[in-house]
Symmetry: C2
Subunit: 477 residues, 2 copies
Amino acid sequence: MVDYFKSLVQPDIRQMIRERDRAGLKALLDVMHPAVAASILEDMKDQEIWAVLDNADLPRRVEIFEYMSLRRQAELVRSLDQRRLSELLEEMSPDDRVDLLSRMSPQRVEQILRLIAQAERNDIRRLLSYDENTAGAIMTTEYASLPVNITVGEALQRLRQQAPDSETIYYIYILGEDRRLKGLISLRELILAPEDQPLAEIMETDVIRMRVDEDREHVAQELARYNFIAMPIVDEHDRLVGIVTHDDAIDVVQEEATEDAYRQGAVEPLRDDYEDAPISVILWKRGVWLLALSLVALVTAWMLGLYEHATSSGLRDAPPDLSGTLIILFLPLVMASGGNAGSQSATLFIRMFALQPTDAAVPGTEFRVDRRLILRELLIGLALGTTLGVLDALVVTIGFHLGIWESSGTVGDLRRALVVGLTVLSIVVVGTAAGTLLPILFRRLGMDPAIMSNPLIAAIVDVLGVVLFYEVAMTFL
Amino acid sequence: MVDYFKSLVQPDIRQMIRERDRAGLKALLDVMHPAVAASILEDMKDQEIWAVLDNADLPRRVEIFEYMSLRRQAELVRSLDQRRLSELLEEMSPDDRVDLLSRMSPQRVEQILRLIAQAERNDIRRLLSYDENTAGAIMTTEYASLPVNITVGEALQRLRQQAPDSETIYYIYILGEDRRLKGLISLRELILAPEDQPLAEIMETDVIRMRVDEDREHVAQELARYNFIAMPIVDEHDRLVGIVTHDDAIDVVQEEATEDAYRQGAVEPLRDDYEDAPISVILWKRGVWLLALSLVALVTAWMLGLYEHATSSGLRDAPPDLSGTLIILFLPLVMASGGNAGSQSATLFIRMFALQPTDAAVPGTEFRVDRRLILRELLIGLALGTTLGVLDALVVTIGFHLGIWESSGTVGDLRRALVVGLTVLSIVVVGTAAGTLLPILFRRLGMDPAIMSNPLIAAIVDVLGVVLFYEVAMTFL
């Protein structure tokens, strides 16, 4: 929808810039949804964007600016002088502002902070200090709050004053002394209650809250589980320090899903969207993994060399099947079967972990996996392996019988089929076990289980596939 | 947090059931957040759950019930008689109700619909008729709406009456004749405006809306892009038929991420969570893919057979390297390199598509991929392939020189290294091309590009790897 609209409106905007139609540009920015304005402007030139945005009032200008991608925001502020930059930053919402500042050089941040009012400056410094994966890094400090000892009517009155500075006024937090979180009331309940009722009578006191150092993914998921519009975030003394809103939570869920998908595909997560990431960064994030996986594949080649040597020298009187033919024909099948079964297990377990992060802050909730799930997974591996093994053995028998593969050895077709079938069965079980246990191990070590990407599981299974295939072949041929 | 809490509270609850402490159970359900109550009760026995829930008032009981997983909801209603089931369904929110009904047998649904009031029944039938991947299937029909010709004060008055039946009253939709969507006003703006101001003066008239047959993933993403609490959903005559709320959108984003991850790992998406899915379903959803991938691997084996035949019979005077040794040692390396590079490209493109679905409803916005992105991806493939090829060639030279691999052939180490290096280079480029173009092709055909899973890309690249390796070897040896 926006793409279509964009191609219609961009030429008009350029014409208005040329004609210096300042009133027309202002009217256009005022009538469009800021998200639409942002995506129309985003791929225009920097000076064009400012030539348009400068016509809007500061709040509107900042609203549109905040809807642009972080990468584009960082590019755009480069051409601003310090005065205009500090004006922009002061108007921005605290969470978006900190995201932008964390993209700028520390020197520029220090220069610009000097121009910003003391209160805002402290807020910025505190938000900048939180680790980027925590609740602190995604929360905003602009929440609506009220004292406990007032009536509904007074509350509505005070709320009208706070509204312009709050990210949401639909949840209002009731604070006790020292800003401790005492209660929660929704605007819905507030407008339903009689004007003279004390807040204390209608507020919810058992407020679900999360810690500022909690993992941002966990915060997003808890917010989703409770269907909240915002999750209150407290410090170690239970003082309210911010809120994470529903729109930031949905962004986190999308970003984490993208990171996990990248890891599963053996790409280190990118900071920008794929389209926007510099080519050098992409090369690095992929090259590292390709090289690591190549190393494992070279171990496979080394194992193959060992077995080739053993079968061609130590066992000179071994049937020709052993010294190559059967192995070369079906090694790719063996490797693919084990690798694919392993990828499936790893995918299912990694996704399961992603949907239920543990709560590090509460004792007694260490990471545990139900043993029955592991057992069930291994049984599934056995069932799948048996099915595949039988079917592959059948195909091999028929294939040799029909001459699709040439019988260069002296062993019967059935025995060859037995070797391939048994190897496929065992490698599928081994692959399933690796795909299940390695992500669990990594998770237990406190690392991201998604590091056990599908290609890495496949690479590990490849090495084991060589060993299994030769061992089974040497036993039965 | 909940796991910890659960282990503390469950024994108490069981004791209260035994002691028939109805008042205590009611008080407990009233004070806990319904989501917490749901997860504490969820893994208790069916009759225990009803013995607890029956003590709460109907609205509270239904609220807790709605927070349980769909699978558990479907199990629980089996033990209800028709009267209690219809009572429960009438109280449920329209979207959750329809999700539950779509899990029940058509006969049971027909029986139960007879007991439900006419208006609700029509609502249920309409919602049941939408395709499960569309906005219609996730929207709720309980939105707040007002006519255009009233003042702010009257609006607040009417809203207080609608509040108990609305999923959210934070966005209020202004409807014209025939329920056409004319405007939008937020509760925030409403409480800030003077009581005697006409709604028409403060409402937003350029309301962003989506069609009821729009893909649910697209709706969730647009809602996230605009930071909406709810997205209005209209029919083909622009009449408001429902809203999709932020909490449903975040569920959709999570479900779609899980589906895509499963597809990427070659598992057909499951309807339930992995932990809850029946073993037979998991076997089927995985077995189908493993079999399909085995077929491709058998094609690889067939190709290998053809080349083995050609090199061992047609080219009897070919160096021994060609008839096996070099191929068997490094085929896994070649296949892994191509498959991994292909998985990376496919992952990046599939995730990019997932984050920007097209808008099928608007003309001129057909699916297009920026050609520069494809070109850039192929260049990246070339760069990665060159790096890997050079490094692998180096390792091969050193390996043969040091005797890690035995030189059974007559060809020099450098020439072997050249063959391996060139093959790796070409297969990485081929893998990248396959990983880029196949998802694009599938997307263009209107199919889910995630069907081009990592294992499938790898399997296709395996076949091409055999061809490339033998062709390069036959050229240079």
